[in-house]
Symmetry: C2
Subunit: 348 residues, 2 copies
């Protein structure tokens, strides 16, 4: 059952109009938006047919039409004009990311806020890790007489650290040796490889630093677990209330509770990094709470099998085209920065 060009044009105009004003679009308003020589009555006929086909809905008899989720789907897949980011839009994203090159972990925790500010929608960011976190290096440093810091490098780009206080007094040399022992024994392992035998073996080699072994290993396991579990960050929750569709407090509250819940949000599908921006419209969502909201998300990659995603949540009436373009550019830029190493070597 194919739809005529004219119907498509009308549907597009309706979606565009509704996205803009959040109000049902009437036939009269359409004849202005469409510069076709057509009377409102004709448009009405077409609208009636579009409704029969399931692309439009009517809130009540004497109201204009509103796109159904099928309408949005068609719009997203075929009708919408791909938004091209303006120079200044790109510049905003560039400057957001430029500042924050340093530590990935810290950047990630701001990502939700960043994306929400960029899009004016509530945003979330997750760091998903497709592979087990591999230990690359373990090192102990001394901070002062009885304070040490254990540094753990996981995967390609994650560094974790933990302060350890101990009455043990170790010499610089002993610590250095200990670090070597740790790295030699642990490099290449995942948290599941860490066993009691391993602990004993390392303790045997660690000389005076032996009492610290358990602490360090526990920390390594903990950090790896924490990393494998997805990290989740939410930002811009206030934007939800800006949308007229969430002026119903109960709805807003439910949605807010939902998106605040890391575990729930983990169930959303994960877009492939580098792939297309993923758009889930209203009832396409499995979760009941999201059935009248849409989610737009993009994946990014950190290299080394580690990846993450950014996404925004809003009413089904979203500016899909613009938001998709923004998320796309943002995630690509992010991937690029992360992958090609955030070395600032070039500056030298």
């Amino acid at each position: 059952m194919d739809i005529s060009e004219r119907k498509k044009k009308i549907l597009r105009a309706i979606v565009d109009g509704y996205i803009l004003n959040a109000e049902p679009v009437a036939s009269k308003a359409l004849i202005e938006a469409l510069d076709m020589d057509i009377s409102s009555a004709t448009v009405r006929n077409e609208m009636a047919e579009l409704e029969a086909l399931g692309y439009l809905e009517q809130p009540h008899t004497s109201a204009g039409r509103v796109p159904s989720h099928l309408g949005y789907r068609l719009y997203v897949d075929e009708l919408m004009k791909r938004h091209r980011l303006s120079k200044s839009e790109m510049a905003v994203i560039d400057s957001m990311l430029d500042k924050r090159l340093g530590e990935i972990d810290r950047t990630l925790s701001d990502l939700g806020t960043l994306v929400s500010r960029l899009t004016n929608y509530t945003a979330y960011a997750m760091a998903a890790h497709s592979e087990r976190a591999v230990i690359r290096r373990v090192e102990l440093l001394i901070v002062e007489s009885n304070t040490y810091v254990a540094v753990l490098v996981l995967g390609i780009s994650t560094v974790r650290n933990k302060l350890i206080k101990s009455s043990l007094r170790l010499l610089e040399d002993e610590i250095h040796t200990f670090s070597c022992v740790l790295t030699t024994n642990l490099a290449g392992l995942t948290k599941d490889d860490i066993s009691d035998e391993l602990l004993l073996r390392i303790e045997a080699q660690s000389g005076p630093a032996a009492p610290l072994c358990r602490i360090v290993l526990d920390f390594a396991v903990e950090a790896a677990e924490d990393l494998e579990e997805r990290d989740f960050h939410l930002g811009g929750t206030a934007y939800i209330l800006e949308q007229p569709e969430y002026h119903d407090i109960l709805k807003a509250r439910r949605l807010l509770e939902y998106v605040s819940d890391k575990r729930e949000m983990s169930r959303l599908p994960i877009p492939r990094p580098g792939g297309k921006v993923k758009i889930i419209i209203g009832p396409e969502n499995i979760a009941e709470t999201l059935k009248d909201s849409s989610v737009i998300m993009a994946g990014y990659s950190l290299g080394d099998g580690m990846q993450g995603l950014i996404g925004i949540v809003g009413p089904t009436r979203m500016n899909y085209s613009r938001m998709a373009a923004k998320l796309n550019y943002f995630s690509e830029k992010l991937s690029k920065l992360m992958q090609q190493g955030f070395s600032e070597e070039d500056d030298i």
Copy 2:
């Protein structure tokens, strides 16, 4: 102008009642709550006087009374019964904190969420640093052939790191020496002490690692700046919408926008760590947006001049006594954990 015992008792009952039900308290309802042998008419007379004194307000002529902010103030300062946390309430807090001993930075970023879950109010956490961040130690580690990680220990408990990619190939020994040079030159300095001369001096001592000096120093400055700037984390924004007083979307939105704004929130007064929990009631707030909300906050200390605060934001009708007790216990526990070193040495 002193108030009789009976008036105080009535005021307390009104505040308690209003906190519970969010509805104006009527004279009739009061004679049940108060087990005094008094008729509702008498209570009405007292209420009229309390209103004249400014402790109560009447939403409209034929409604019950509601505490004014002065009423709340009196209640908080003198009338409310100090809430004693139950064993299970304490246990909840204990388990929240026990898990997260490791890395302070990561703990802090979860603090907002933690506190909000504890109190069922929107919560925020800030890390305020009263002194300049002093560099304790700088170390370079090698991750793989051309990837290094710089580790920076700031103050007593903050560790920051940055991955550095460079085509430079350094031997373990050279890196070790470089680390020593860095720490020797930088330990005890703040970011303001880092100058171009210093850079030159360090470069001169760094041998083959000289090209990395600038990157490392830039990173140190950046990290210190970032640390001195307060870290801010918000959690549980969904709780705002649970309060009937924010069923007005506009109000909720304004408040949500306000508390999401790090800079605005930085203007709130800072409670002394170890001191009493600070309670700011409605119009006592300087910020217009907070004039009908209350803020309860507590400071905690990390030792070494570094401190932070946790706080919750809600309607003026808050359960001050219980929330204050919770925040108090939470912050004290946190201080203790942080200060006495989060060493797990005892486990051995």
